[in-house]
């Protein structure tokens, strides 16, 4: 029995030796084929791989686990030294393989991301909780550029608390409306449902119902452009108030009274919440009708006000506030027309002025 057992052990040892010999050959083969591999890091990605090999024919890079579709890139060679530049930098925490003739010669893993700040959703405009039933837009402002793939609708859900059901609130565009930095997203409530009389409005009614409350949840799975998720879910609760059927009128705005020879702020009160992005970009202060006054514009609480702090002291004399007519309230009503032009309450014809002016004196 012992002998037989000994023979069995011998077979096991022989098999193990053959296995290790095979591994030895494979690893020798790898070392011979690919040597002195150097990953060229830029930020957290690898933009190129340098290596030495006597034969780069049919040498292909793959994402680990993939065997059919090779990674696109360019190999530049000088003798036995080669440099591979992928079309897109190798991504953090991913493992890649170099293959030749179906055989894996080398594999490498790109370092994981470290000390990267999580993105945050800084603000949701409008910031107030009560919105008109004909609210047209919302903006999400993020702390850092967000992912440029996928659709915002994958990360935003809206629940009608009053009716206890999930609803589709925002217009689903093929390509979302981001700013150039990809930190600000514009969300439209379906304009076809807001304009009274349009088929979508007739079939489905307004996106928001007066008296109802809603929760808008922004998923923590939403990632930044660097692939880091938001730190948590963000929830905004809104209550729907009455319809806004008034166009913003510069003559109805209230102005504070800054004193001459001071840098006192000029506070402009709109009397309603305005579209935060347009309000910041639509106003200009001018001296003697034409000289632009430099300074900072800061939105006040609930976007009801904007505060202008001049860079230099006020002079004595007459100033103008000039507003682009495109400034909008929360319902998309601008200075020229109501968003819902079909509304029967509007009596005046739409204007085509590009700017509206309001003078004030500084003493």
């Amino acid at each position: 029995m012992d002998v037989i057992g000994g023979l069995n052990n011998f077979k096991k040892i022989r098999f193990t030796l053959v296995f290790f010999y095979g591994l030895f050959l494979l690893s020798c083969g790898s070392k011979d084929a690919i040597k002195n591999v150097n990953l060229q890091y830029q930020d957290s990605s690898v933009i190129g791989v340098s290596f030495e090999s006597s034969d780069v024919n049919d040498l292909i890079f793959f994402l680990k686990g993939e065997t059919k579709t090779p990674i696109l890139g360019e190999i530049k060679s000088s003798g036995d030294k080669h440099h591979f530049t992928p079309v897109i930098p190798f991504r953090a925490a991913q493992t890649y393989e170099i293959r030749q003739g179906g055989r894996r010669l080398y594999s490498f893993k790109v370092k994981d991301l470290k000390n990267i700040e999580r993105p945050e959703l800084i603000t949701i405009y409008p910031t107030k909780d009560t919105v008109p039933e004909n609210l047209l837009k919302m903006y999400l402002i993020f702390s850092t550029p967000m992912q440029e793939v996928g659709n915002a609708s994958n990360f935003i859900s809206v629940f009608n608390v009053t009716e206890q059901r999930e609803v589709e609130l925002f217009l689903n565009l093929e390509k979302d409306l981001w700013d150039k930095d990809h930190t600000r997203l514009t969300l439209w409530l379906d304009p076809g449902r807001i304009k009274t009389g349009l088929i979508p409005n007739k079939l489905m009614g307004l996106p928001l119902r007066q008296g109802h409350s809603y929760t808008i949840t922004v998923s923590g799975n939403w990632k930044s452009a660097r692939g880091i998720s938001l730190s948590k879910n963000y929830i905004k609760k809104i209550v729907v108030g009455k319809r806004d059927n008034q166009m913003p009128d510069i003559l109805n705005w209230e102005l504070s009274d800054p004193a001459a020879n001071t840098k006192e702020a000029l506070k402009i009160s709109f009397g309603e919440s305005m579209d935060a992005i347009l309000a910041r970009e639509s106003l200009q202060i001018k001296y003697k009708g034409e000289i632009p006054v430099e300074g900072n514009y800061t939105l006040g609480e609930y976007e009801n006000t904007i505060v202008f702090t001049p860079k230099d002291s006020w002079n004595e004399g007459v100033y103008d506030i000039s507003s682009d007519s495109k400034i909008e309230d929360l319902a998309g009503n601008n200075m020229n027309h109501l968003f819902d032009t079909n509304n029967e309450e509007i009596k005046e014809p739409a204007s085509s002025e590009t700017h509206y002016k309001r003078s004030f004196s500084v003493f």
């Binding site: 996928g150 979508p200 079939l203």
Partner: protein, 371 residues
């Protein structure tokens, strides 16, 4: 002597042909420069003549014209049937499908090659061309190109010197038609849209059209509705812009009226229903008849017969009083839901990118005989 005469004549003929060839080529690309155009985003693709690829860049608010040098003529395209298409693209870029987005697809009508503009999660734009079952990367590091910045829409404050960010007009569709690059855009701030007609080769001349559409259901003219996708249709020897809006009316505008300062009034020929956003529009011919296909966010691909549009002489100017789902020209729903991109592949086939019921993204060609 006779031989010399023949020789000279032959040389003359060759020179004429060569001259004609270079003239034709240089006419469109003579303004092109060589280098890296510096494209920030590739949102929309369209082919012009001679393998010139037009790229709509929303971030830079610029249209680029790239000489792809992809001139080799091919009359018939190969059949395409690729599953897990997004994964395939992702693998070829060394990443996973959740890290990429296919922005647009365009077929070069000369070579029948299919081009794709891809976004990586960090916004890096990539241009790929399908070659058999694999992809080729079209590097834009050193290409022959021209570009034109989109001027801001009428109404922007020209006096604004405060360095405030200009309005961004997301390019919603882009097409080349008879020496013009046609571009529609959506605003990312105020509710509004633009439509531009730009001469090509670019000469800094851009026409803005103020488009007015009649909403049949609305009973009102509407100037601010945003165009989502469009195509060109010829009716009675006149070219029309056929525009589809975010709230899906189909509207015709005479192309020659789309000029700066002209307030073009559109003829609404169809209201195609609610809760839907059009995605893409193409036209094709089958058995001597012309058809339009429109893909949608929430509806299957719609097929509209050219004759139906041509025969629909009236405009929907009477307010729709009933809760009708659609009005105007008839259309057929084809059994293709969730078609994200479409283009004409060759004379007999279309190519489309579709999300199937099980979530797979497929790229398929299909004969127009069955469409």
């Amino acid at each position: 002597m006779k031989a010399l005469k023949w020789g000279l004549a032959l040389a003359g003929i060759i020179m004429i042909f060569v001259a004609a060839g270079t003239e034709r080529k240089s006419k469109l690309t003579s303004n092109f420069t060589k280098g890296n155009p510096g494209i920030a985003s590739m949102d929309k693709l369209a082919f012009g003549p001679e393998g010139i690829l037009l790229i709509g860049d929303t971030k830079n608010a610029t249209i680029y014209a790239i000489n792809t040098m992809d001139f080799k003529e091919k009359s018939e395209a190969e059949e395409v049937n690729l599953e897990a298409f997004d994964q395939k693209i992702a693998s070829s870029l060394g990443t996973t499908a959740d890290q990429i987005q296919i922005n647009d697809m365009a077929v070069n009508p000369i070579s029948k090659s299919i081009y794709f503009s891809i976004n990586i999660i960090d916004g890096t734009p990539v241009l790929l061309r399908l070659k058999g079952q694999e992809f080729e990367h079209i590097s834009l590091q050193d290409v022959s190109y021209d570009k034109i910045e989109l001027e801001n829409a009428v109404g922007i404050n020209a006096e604004d010197k405060r360095g405030r960010p200009l309005r961004v007009w997301a390019i919603s569709d882009l097409k080349y038609h008879k020496g013009k690059v046609l571009v529609s855009g959506l605003s990312n701030k105020e509710f509004g849209s633009t439509f531009r007609s730009i001469s090509f080769p670019f000469d800094d001349k851009q026409d803005y059209a103020s488009l007015e559409i009649w909403h049949a259901a609305h009973g009102q003219y509407e100037t601010h509705a945003p165009i989502k996708t469009f195509d060109i249709i010829e009716l009675d020897k006149t070219d029309y812009l056929m525009a589809s809006y975010t709230c899906t009316p189909l509207v015709l505008f005479p192309l020659d009226e789309l000029k700066t300062g002209v307030h073009a009034k559109g003829r609404t020929v169809a209201e195609l229903g609610a809760g839907n956003s059009p995605l893409d529009m193409i036209s094709y011919e089958k058995e001597g008849k012309k058809y339009f296909l429109m893909s949608n966010s929430n509806r299957p691909v719609m097929r509209i017969k050219y004759d139906e549009i041509a025969d629909f002489k009236e405009t929907l100017t009477e307010p729709v009083e009933e809760f009708a789902a659609t009005e105007g020209v008839a259309y057929d729903n084809l059994p293709f839901p969730y078609v994200l991109q479409m283009d004409i592949l060759d004379d007999k086939n279309v190519i489309y990118l579709q999300r199937t019921a099980d979530g797979d993204l497929v790229l398929r060609s299909r004969t127009t005989k069955w469409m």
